[in-house]
Symmetry: C2
Subunit: 233 residues, 2 copies
C-alpha cells in the first residue's frame, strides 16, 4: 500500500523493508467524517489510499477556512509526529480509505532510518511552500483567479499523484468547499465557475470539469507549479 511513501522520497535504500514492517491499519470512513478535530491530541499518522480530504480551521465566529486538500498518497497528520496538539481539523470530503499508524512507531522508524526522515521532512517543507502559495492566493488574487488557481493546483496535484489527466476530472468538493478554500462565498464561487466556463477556459457538467486550454487557464489563474516542487505525493 504505502510504497507511495517511497515514491515521494528521493533517496531510499533497503529501509523499504522497514517501511513494509510498519504496523498499518487499513481503515475506511464515510464522507463528512473527521479524522481529526482541532484541539485534540493526536497520536496517529495517516496515509490516504483513496478518496479526498481537507484540512480546515475555523474562526471563533464559526467561519471555516480550508487550508489544504488531500488525495491518495498524501501523508496527513505528519505534524503529530512532533507536535501533539492539533491546530486544525481534517475531514473526509468523499468516502475515504487510509492507512493509520501510531505516531510513536513512525517516530521510531524515522530515528533509525535517516533517508525516510529526510523524505518526510521534505514533504513537510513542500507543505509549507503550498501554504505560502495559498496565503498569496487568498490575499492577493481576485475571485476569478482564486478559483482558477485552486482548480489548476488540484488538477496538477491529481496528475502528479497518478490519479489521471489534469484536463478532465471529477471534483470531490462542493462549491461551499471551494468557497471555504478560496476565502469567498459559495454564491460567488458559483459565478466565477460560470464565468470561467463562459470564457471557454473550462467546461462543466455537474462536478465534472474539463480544462479546455491548459495554457490559457494557467494564465488566467496566475498558476505556476514551481511551488509544488514537483510534489511527488
Amino acid at each position: 500500500m504505502t510504497r507511495k511513501l517511497e515514491r515521494l522520497g528521493t533517496l531510499n535504500e533497503q529501509d523499504r523493508s522497514a517501511l513494509r514492517d510498519l504496523p498499518l491499519t487499513a481503515r475506511r470512513t464515510a464522507a463528512g467524517q473527521h479524522l481529526l478535530r482541532e484541539g485534540e491530541d493526536s497520536t496517529t499518522c495517516y496515509v490516504l489510499l483513496s478518496g479526498y480530504a481537507c484540512r480546515y480551521k475555523t474562526t471563533s465566529a464559526g467561519a471555516r477556512q480550508i487550508v489544504s486538500f488531500h488525495m491518495a498518497g498524501d501523508i496527513v497528520d505528519l505534524q503529530h509526529l512532533l507536535l501533539s496538539r492539533a491546530d486544525h481539523s481534517i475531514q473526509a470530503m468523499t468516502e475515504l480509505t487510509f492507512a493509520a499508524t501510531p505516531a510513536a512507531e513512525l517516530k521510531k522508524l524515522v530515528q533509525s532510518h535517516p533517508a525516510i526522515a529526510e523524505a518526510l521532512w521534505r514533504d513537510t517543507l513542500i507543505d509549507g511552500s503550498v501554504y505560502r502559495e495559498w496565503v498569496l492566493n487568498v490575499g492577493r488574487r481576485d475571485a476569478k483567479q482564486r478559483v482558477a488557481h485552486m482548480l489548476c493546483e488540484f488538477a496538477a496535484r491529481r496528475e502528479k499523484a497518478g490519479l489521471g489527466s489534469p484536463a478532465s476530472f471529477e471534483l470531490p468538493m462542493t462549491q461551499d468547499d471551494i468557497a471555504d478554500a478560496t476565502g469567498l462565498t459559495n454564491v460567488h464561487v458559483n459565478r466565477m465557475l460560470a464565468l470561467l466556463a463562459a470564457e471557454g477556459l473550462i467546461a462543466r457538467d455537474k462536478r465534472h470539469v474539463e480544462i479546455e486550454d491548459w495554457e490559457r487557464m494557467c494564465e488566467a489563474a496566475d498558476f505556476d507549479p514551481a511551488y509544488l516542487h514537483a510534489l511527488a505525493a
Copy 2:
C-alpha cells in the same frame, strides 16, 4: 550566537558542541536588502541575530503578499536544506544581523545528530501551523480582525523570542508591509489602526504600539496563540 537554536529544540545533548562547530559567518545588511529572491537556487541557511525580516511572494501582476515575519532567533531558509529552488523572497525590513551557514554543512550536522534534526523539523512543522493560521486570517477575517491578529501574533512571538513585553513595542514594518501581510491596502490598514486606537484597544505614537488591554485585544483579533505551539524561536 546560535545557541538560540538550542533553545528551540526540546532534546539536545552534547550535539551542542557540534552546533558550536558549525561554520558560521556573521553578516549584516541594510533595511530593504534581500537575503533571497524567488527563483534563486539557495545553498545557505540563515539565523537572524537582530532586526526583522519578512518572506513574501508576488503575483504575476506584481502584487506582493508577505507570508511571514521573522525576528531574532528565527531560522530562515531552512527549506533550502532539502529544496533548492526558492519559491519566495526574503527581505530585511530593518537593518539586520544574521549568521549564515552553508546548507551542506547543516545537512551533515543534521545527519549525524538526530536530536538537532528533530528540533529543526519541529520548527518547520510550527512554520506550517503559522501559515495555516495566516490562510485563515487572510481568508476569513475582516480587516479589523486581520490587522489586530497580526499585531497580536507579532507581540506574542516577540515576547517568546525574548525581545520584550507584548504590551509595548516598536513596529519594524510600514503600514504598506502590514497591508501586504493582511491582504489589504495601506489606506485601509491605516483606517483599521485608527479604529483600534479609537476603540481603546491600542495606543500609537508613530511606530510605537501599546496594547492597552491584552484580553480585549485578543478577543477583537480572534487571536489564540495555540497555533504558535509555544514557538520557542
